[in-house]
Amino acid sequence: MSNDRPLRVIVAKAGLDGHDRGAKVIARALRDAGMEVIYTGLFQTPEQIVQTAIQEDVDGIGLSILSGAHMTLFPAVIEQLKAQGAADIVFFGGGTIPADDARELKEAGVREIFTPGAPLSQIIEFVERECGKRRELVG
């Protein structure tokens, strides 16, 4: 029943990183693909992002970081998701993230990391697939 609603996704920027080009492009692309997209704006804390995610009842969170603080901020979001009992929300991200770090983050629970040059179609497909699965499970 609730599966008829469009998928809902947050695109988030955390920390002090003001590079919002990628986040805005992704937000538009997901919206154009038929999803409901909430863009948090800049300088959010991991707590704020997860709170917004829960309040807005989203299926996924996409976090964009290009400042080098990814190894601190991604794990902080995961911790918040677990603490709030929201670990089922599909958490993915992107930015200037070296391959080794991306691997480590995925092991820690980030579902996917997209780096510069990743095609929008691939990101949309990932979000539709993973958030769709989550919707089927959670309803």
């Binding site: 695109v11 920390g15 002090l16 990183d17 003001g18 590079h19 919002d20 080009r21 986040a23 805005k24 492009v25 937000a27 538009r28 692309a29 997209v37 863009y39 948090t40 704006g41 800049l42 400042s67 080098g68 603080a69 190894m71 601190t72 901020l73 902080a76 200037t96 993230i97 070296p98 391959a99 080794d100 780096t115 510069p116 040059g117 095609p119 929008l120 179609s121």
Partner: protein, 571 residues
């Protein structure tokens, strides 16, 4: 008669019968293959990367409206379309200035000594995010960011370490910092003065371009109006006390990186520059007293000719506005001097070695466009801070360009090219159209508040991304000629968490070992100056820095007066 003279000085050739026959033959040949479509992925297109229309060929007719003396003139002459020096690079080679900073001040100082030893001729400081946003390393907002994308500078002590063993009277330093620019300048002055070098002897550039922060880079602290007041205070201070210091580097680089087109970069950057000119004039400064110390900073993207034309158009527009609109009389006030950096956003994480080639073309465009200084990006910057090896290749790229290719021998070698002149004029026209739109909002600050620039840029970046998806645009290794990525064997520079802990300890030590009452008095005095429009904030800022107030404390004091800026989130 008047018409004949105009025609004689124009660029368009006389249309002889032979010429017209040749032209007809070419048109027949071009059209003989029917209407051409640019197959997705073919590379050749009828648009620049910024969506400006391109003809397959340019002829004298495309430049017939241009006047040699009025629009081109000679290098070193108004309107400087062909360059600001008579002999261009025969007079003076561009400055090779690689932007660097990471970790703590000691590590960055070592990188500076390395770069100077490799033949680099100027320093350029990259600060970390907390420093750029006005936070100390031990504030909660700084978590995970300390030393990551630049060097962490909390107090005067860090600035002193940063320039240890470097003669500040002999080199020039560029500092890329905006929100807290006045604080960084105060720290630099205090560092030099502690070594007995007078502030008047200091040469360098402060970015201090806050308007483009609201437009593109988003590293602001206060709302626009008080920020501009601080910048005007700095301009006044430098004009009277630091004759060799470039007060503002009006920056299009970040506007472009945020996804703008070349025309938007050109127009928005110049509009910002004019806004500072107007603010300073409104504060009672004579335009010729400060304009010669303004400089610009542009991006050099991958569309080769469009970039060259952008630089040429920028010089012509600036000269015309400075002389005609603002009444500047000193030729140095008419000259647009600029630094260029190759486009970070054109680099790819896929097959990163290809970035070396991109950077070389972009650097050449900057030089053919007449840049005064240049930073070439390193191939690995799309993934992390550059390693010493990749920085060396980037610097060598400039050296090959300067010493081997011969591009330095002739001033404005593309001047007079039908294509280059036509596109230069087209970009000038489009920039003027943007100025009119900005004027309709009431000015740059009003257009920022209305979200005009932000929206224009977001639209352009989305259009561009879409063109990659459809393969109208090709990026080698990304949407064409891809290859299965093996684990990259490029070494990356990593900044460990110990930097953050060490920096937090050292700023705590600074706070513990200073005269606390002295600091408090200095900050109170600073707040009084901030509240009083008649005063200049620079002297109390220098006093606060010398009292060892940290950057975070100084910013906090100023926030108490001015408040913090927040942006309405929209995509």
């Amino acid at each position: 008669m008047a018409k004949m003279i105009e025609r004689a000085s124009g660029l368009g050739a006389a249309e002889t019968a032979e010429y017209l026959e040749q032209k007809a033959r070419w048109e027949a040949a071009w059209h003989s293959r029917g209407p051409r479509r640019n197959e997705p992925g073919s590379g050749a297109t009828d648009r620049t990367i910024s969506d400006l229309p391109l003809a397959p060929l340019y002829t004298p007719e495309d430049v017939a409206h241009l006047d040699l003396a009025r629009d081109l003139a000679f290098p070193g002459e108004y309107p400087y379309t062909r360059g600001i020096h008579a002999g261009m690079y025969r007079d003076r080679l561009w400055t090779m200035r690689q932007f660097a900073g990471f970790g703590n001040a000691k590590q960055t100082n070592e990188r500076y000594h390395f770069l100077l030893a490799q033949g680099q001729t100027g320093l350029s400081v990259a600060f970390d995010m907390p420093t750029l946003m006005g936070f100390d390393s031990d504030q909660p907002q700084s978590l995970g960011e300390v030393g990551k994308c630049g060097v962490a500078i909390d107090s005067l002590r860090d600035m002193e370490t940063l320039f240890q063993g470097i003669d500040l009277g002999a080199i020039t330093t560029s500092m890329t910092i905006n929100g807290p620019a006045a604080i960084a300048l105060a720290q630099y002055i205090a560092t030099a003065e502690a070594k007995g070098i007078p502030r008047a002897a200091l040469g360098g550039t402060l970015q201090a371009d806050i308007l483009k922060e609201y437009i593109a880079q988003k590293e602001w602290i206060f709302p626009p109006r008080p920020h501009v007041r601080i910048i005007v205070d700095m301009m006044k201070f430098c004009t009277s006390e630091m004759p060799k210091w470039n007060t503002i580097s009006v920056s299009g680089y970040h506007i472009r990186e945020a996804g703008s087109t070349a025309v938007q970069e050109l127009a928005f950057t110049l509009a910002d520059g004019f806004a500072y000119v107007e603010a300073a004039m409104k504060a009672g400064m004579d335009v010729d007293s400060f304009a010669p110390r303004l400089s610009f900073f542009f991006n050099s993207h991958i569309d080769f000719f469009e970039e060259i034309c952008k630089f040429r158009a920028a010089r012509r527009i600036y000269a015309r506005h400075m002389r005609e609109r603002y009444g500047a009389k000193d030729p140095r006030s008419w000259m647009l001097r600029f630094h260029t950096q190759t486009a970070g956003c054109s680099a790819t994480a896929q097959q990163p070695e290809n970035n070396i080639v991109r950077v070389a073309y972009e650097a050449m465009a900057a030089v053919l466009g007449g840049t005064q200084s240049l930073h070439t990006n390193s191939m690995d910057e799309v993934m992390a801070l550059p390693t010493e090896k990749s920085v060396e290749i980037a610097l060598r790229t400039q050296q090959v360009l300067a010493y081997e290719t011969g591009v330095t021998s002739v001033a404005d070698p593309l001047g007079g090219s039908y294509f280059v002149e036509a596109l230069t004029a087209e970009m000038e026209d489009q920039a003027e159209a943007y100025f009119a739109q900005i004027e309709d909002y009431g000015g740059v600050i009003e257009a920022i508040e209305a979200g005009f620039f932000q929206h224009e840029i977001a639209d352009a970046s989305y259009r561009y991304q879409r063109s990659l998806e459809t393969k109208e645009r090709v990026i080698v290794g990304v949407n064409a000629f891809e290859k299965e990525e093996l684990a990259s064997d490029i070494d990356l520079l990593k900044i460990g968490e110990e930097i953050e802990r060490g920096q937090a300890r050292s700023v705590a030590a600074v706070r513990a070992n200073r005269d606390a009452i002295h600091v408090e008095e200095a900050l109170s005095e600073l707040k009084r100056a901030c509240r009083d429009e008649e005063r200049n904030v620079m002297p109390p800022l220098i006093a606060a820095v010398k009292a060892l107030a940290t950057e975070g404390e100084i910013v906090q004091a100023m926030v108490e007066v001015y408040g913090r800026y927040t942006e309405r989130a929209a995509f």
